[in-house]
C-alpha cells in the first residue's frame, strides 16, 4: 500500500521504533524564541546538559518586542527581562540568535522560511503552536511545549505517537478576492476547532497547487486552529523556486540531490488517508469570524448566527457566550459591524505578499476616520522589501501606522493591544477572549478584507470598496 506525504516524512525521521513505545523522531530544525525557552534552558543547566545540535538550532525575538522605538530600552521591565534571558541563554549555550535590531529578526515562522532553513521533507519544531506554518514546504512541523523544547535541545529528538492523516482536497478556482485566509477560515468553520485533533492535515487539489508559498504558509499556519498539530502541502516547482538561492538552500550537487529527494515527497496515488474532506474552491467567499474561537466564522455576506439554531447544547452555549463577549446580536449583518482597529501582520499574514495585497487596496484611499490601522511586517527582511517597493508610503499616505517587525497585536504580550471593548479586524490567527488585549474583540480576516474594512470602517470586502467608489461618483 502507498504512503501519504506525512507518513513518508515521518518514516524518514524515525531514530528508534519499539513495540509499545512512541517512535523516537529526529528533529531537523529547532526554532527558539524568548517566551517558551527560558524554563527549558534552566532544565539543561540543572541537569548539566548541553545543546546537542547547535547547528540545527536558531533563535529570534518576536512575542515581546515593541514595534515602536526599538532603538530605546524596552519599557516593560518584565518583557525586557525575558528578552535578556534569551540573550544570556543563547550566549551561554552557543545558540545563533537574531535579536531585536538584527536584520534577520522577525516572527520566528517568517524568519525560518525566508532564510531557506525550512525545506521540504524536514521535521521542524518550535515552542509555538503556529510552527505548523512550515508544513507549507512539505515537511512535518509542529508546535511543542517547553518540556519538549528542553527535550529537543538535549537530544535533537522527540518521542511522538504517530498521527493519523487527513486529506483536505480543494479543487476548482478560488473566486476573485477569495484568499488563502478565507479558505482556511472556511475549512476551520467546516471541521471545527477539534476536527483536526490527532491528525496531520494534507492540503491538496488544484486550488492548493496554484497558491504561492506565502498563501500556502497562511493555510498551514492555521492548521492548529482546527486542532491539528501539523498541516502540510506537497512540495512542487513553486516550492523549489521559492527556495532556490536563499541563504541556507542547498547549492550545486546538494541542490540536485535535494530536489531529487523533494520530488518523491507526495502522497502515493494508492495512499489511504484516515479521513478526507473535500472543499469546492469556487463556492467560497470572503470569510470572517464573529465569535471567540476560529471555528466561529461565516461568509462576510452572512448575518451573525442565532445561538438557538445550534442543535448541540455545548455549541449553543459557546455561541451565546461568544455573542455576549463580542457585543453582537443574532441576525445582525456581519457587514454592519464597525471596527476601531485594523491589524495587518502576524505569522499568518505578515509576509510580503500580504502587505502587497493590503497596499494595493489602500493606494489612493484613506483609512476611515476613527479607525486605527497598524501594519506590522513579519520580519525586518519583509519590512525592507516593502520599503523597496514603496508599500510603506502607501500605508502611511492612507493614514495607517507603519511599524517595526514582530508579533505585535496578534497577542497581548507587547505594547500593541486593544483596550477593553475595542473591536478589531485582524489578519492574525486567534479571536480568543482577550487575545489582543483584555476585553478586546477580534474578527479574523484576510489582508484584503482588513484593508477594505480600514477604508470603510465596517467589516467589508474589496468588492465593497469599488461599490463605494461608484456610489460616491454618482
Amino acid at each position: 500500500m502507498g504512503r501519504t506525504l506525512a507518513e513518508k516524512v515521518w518514516d524518514d525521521h524515525v531514530v528508534r521504533r519499539a513495540e509499545g513505545e512512541p517512535d523516537l523522531l529526529f528533529i531537523d530544525l529547532h526554532l527558539l524564541h524568548e517566551v517558551t525557552s527560558p524554563q527549558a534552558f534552566d532544565g539543561l543547566r540543572q541537569n548539566g546538559r548541553q545543546v546537542r545540535r547547535l547547528d540545527l538550532t536558531i533563535a529570534t525575538e518576536d512575542h515581546n518586542t515593541p514595534t515602536l522605538d526599538i532603538d530605546k530600552p524596552i519599557a516593560d521591565p518584565v518583557s525586557r527581562a525575558q528578552l535578556e534571558t534569551l540573550r544570556k541563554n543563547c550566549a551561554e549555550f552557543g545558540v545563533r540568535l537574531h535579536p531585536l535590531g538584527d536584520v534577520e529578526q522577525g516572527v520566528v515562522h517568517v524568519v525560518g522560511p525566508q532564510l531557506g532553513l525550512t525545506q521540504p521533507g524536514m521535521t521542524v519544531v518550535c515552542g509555538d503552536s503556529h510552527t505548523s506554518t512550515h508544513g507549507a514546504f512539505g515537511g512535518l512541523a509542529f508546535g511543542i511545549g517547553t518540556s519538549q523544547v528542553e527535550h529537543v535541545l538535549a537530544t535533537q529528538t522527540l518521542p511522538m505517537a504517530r498521527p493519523k492523516t487527513m486529506a483536505i482536497t480543494v479543487d476548482g478556482e478560488l473566486p476573485a478576492d477569495v484568499t488563502a485566509k478565507d479558505l482556511i477560515l472556511a475549512i476551520i468553520a467546516r471541521i471545527g476547532t477539534g476536527g483536526g485533533q490527532g491528525y496531520v492535515l494534507e492540503y491538496r487539489g488544484s486550488a492548493i497547487e496554484k497558491l504561492s508559498m506565502e498563501a500556502r504558509m497562511t493555510i498551514c499556519n492555521m492548521s492548529i486552529e482546527a486542532g491539528a498539530r501539523a498541516g502540510m502541502i506537497a512540495p512542487d516547482e513553486t516550492t523549489f523556486a521559492y527556495l532556490k538561492g536563499r541563504a541556507h538552500a542547498p547549492e550545486g550537487e546538494d541542490w540536485d540531490a535535494a530536489v531529487a529527494y523533494w520530488k518523491t515527497l507526495k502522497s502515493d496515488e494508492d495512499a489511504v488517508f484516515d479521513a478526507e474532506v473535500v472543499i469546492d474552491a469556487a463556492a467560497l467567499a470572503p470569510f470572517v469570524t464573529w465569535g471567540t474561537n476560529p471555528g466561529q466564522g461565516a461568509p462576510l455576506s452572512a448575518n451573525v448566527p442565532d445561538p438557538a439554531a445550534y442543535e448541540d447544547p455545548s455549541e449553543r452555549l459557546a455561541a451565546e457566550k461568544a455573542l455576549e463577549y463580542m457585543g453582537l446580536t443574532a441576525g445582525q449583518p456581519l457587514r454592519d459591524i464597525k471596527v476601531d482597529t485594523v491589524f495587518v501582520g502576524s505569522c499568518t499574514n505578515g509576509r510580503i505578499e500580504d502587505l502587497r495585497n493590503a497596499a494595493s487596496l489602500l493606494e489612493g484611499r484613506k483609512v476611515a476616520d476613527g479607525v486605527r490601522m497598524l501594519v506590522v511586517p513579519g520580519s525586518v527582511r519583509v519590512a525592507l522589501q516593502a520599503v523597496e517597493e514603496g508599500l510603506d508610503k502607501v500605508f502611511k499616505e492612507a493614514g495607517a501606522e507603519w511599524r517595526h517587525a514582530g508579533c505585535s497585536m496578534c497577542l497581548g504580550m507587547n505594547p500593541d493591544q486593544l483596550a477593553p471593548g475595542e473591536r478589531s479586524a485582524s489578519t492574525s490567527n486567534r479571536n480568543f477572549e482577550g487575545r489582543q488585549g483584555k476585553g478586546g474583540r477580534t474578527h479574523l480576516v484576510s489582508p484584503q478584507v482588513a484593508a477594505a474594512t480600514a477604508v470603510l470602517g465596517h467589516l467589508a470586502s474589496p468588492a465593497d470598496l469599488s461599490d463605494a467608489v461608484t456610489t460616491a461618483g454618482v
Binding site: L29, N47, Q156, R435
Partner: protein, 197 residues
C-alpha cells in the same frame, strides 16, 4: 516529574467548551521565566467575576477540574499546565483535549482524563448538586470513581508507565543515544545547518 498513582479530591465543574490556553493563562503572564507563580493568572479574566465557579467558597481547595470539550486549545504554552498545577489541580477531566496541551500535561504529571461527555455531564450534575462530593482518579486501575459513577478511561500504556513512575523523558531518550548518533551519521549532506560547525 512528580509521579501520579491515584488522587481523590473535590471537583470544580467548569461548564465551558473550547477553553483555550489564552483563557487558562493570558499571554501577559508568559513573560515570567520560571515554572511557578502562575496560580493568580489561572482563568484570570473569568475570576474577576465573583460568581465564577472557581471563586465560590465551596470550591476552595478543590483539586479535580471537570471541563467541557476541547479543553486547552490554542497556543502551545506549557504555562497553562503550570498554572493549573500551581493553583492546586492534580487532574483535569474532559471529553476532548487539544493535543499539545495534553502532551504538556502528561509531561508534568497533571493527569488529563478523557471520558465520554455523558460521564462528564454526570460528574457536573453530581458536583454541582453536592460540592463536597469527592472524585477519585485512579491511574493504576484507570478508573474515575465518584458517588454513583464508575467510569473506565484509556491512557496508552507507555504514558501510564511514565506517569506512575514519574519518569523523566530526557533520561529515557538518552538511553538510546547510540541510535541517535547512528541516525545523525546517515543524514544527507543537503540538509540545512544554522551554523557551520
Amino acid at each position: 516529574m512528580e509521579a501520579f498513582t491515584t488522587h481523590t479530591g473535590r471537583a470544580v465543574p467548569l461548564r465551558r467548551s473550547n477553553v483555550d490556553t489564552d483563557q487558562i493563562i493570558p499571554a501577559h503572564w508568559l513573560k515570567k521565566v520560571t515554572r511557578d507563580g502562575f496560580e493568580d493568572g489561572l482563568f484570570e479574566a473569568w475570576r474577576k467575576d465573583p460568581e465564577f465557579v472557581l471563586n465560590r467558597p465551596e470550591r476552595q481547595g478543590a483539586t479535580v477540574l471537570v471541563a467541557g470539550p476541547d479543553f486547552g486549545t490554542g497556543s502551545s504554552r506549557e504555562h497553562a499546565v503550570w498554572a493549573l498545577q500551581n493553583y492546586g489541580f492534580k487532574t483535569v477531566i474532559s471529553s476532548r483535549f487539544a493535543d499539545i496541551f495534553r502532551g504538556n500535561s502528561l509531561k508534568n504529571g497533571l493527569l488529563t482524563v478523557v471520558l465520554p461527555q455523558e460521564t462528564v455531564d454526570a460528574l457536573w450534575a453530581l458536583t454541582e448538586a453536592d460540592p463536597t462530593a469527592e472524585v477519585t482518579v485512579d491511574l493504576e486501575s484507570r478508573k474515575v470513581l465518584a458517588p454513583g459513577i464508575d467510569a473506565d478511561f484509556e491512557l496508552d500504556e507507555n504514558a501510564r508507565w511514565r506517569l506512575l513512575n514519574g519518569l523523566d523523558d530526557i533520561s529515557l531518550t538518552l538511553q538510546n543515544e547510540a541510535d541517535i548518533a547512528a541516525y545523525e551519521a546517515a543524514r544527507p549532506s543537503f540538509k540545512p545547518r544554522t551554523i557551520t560547525a
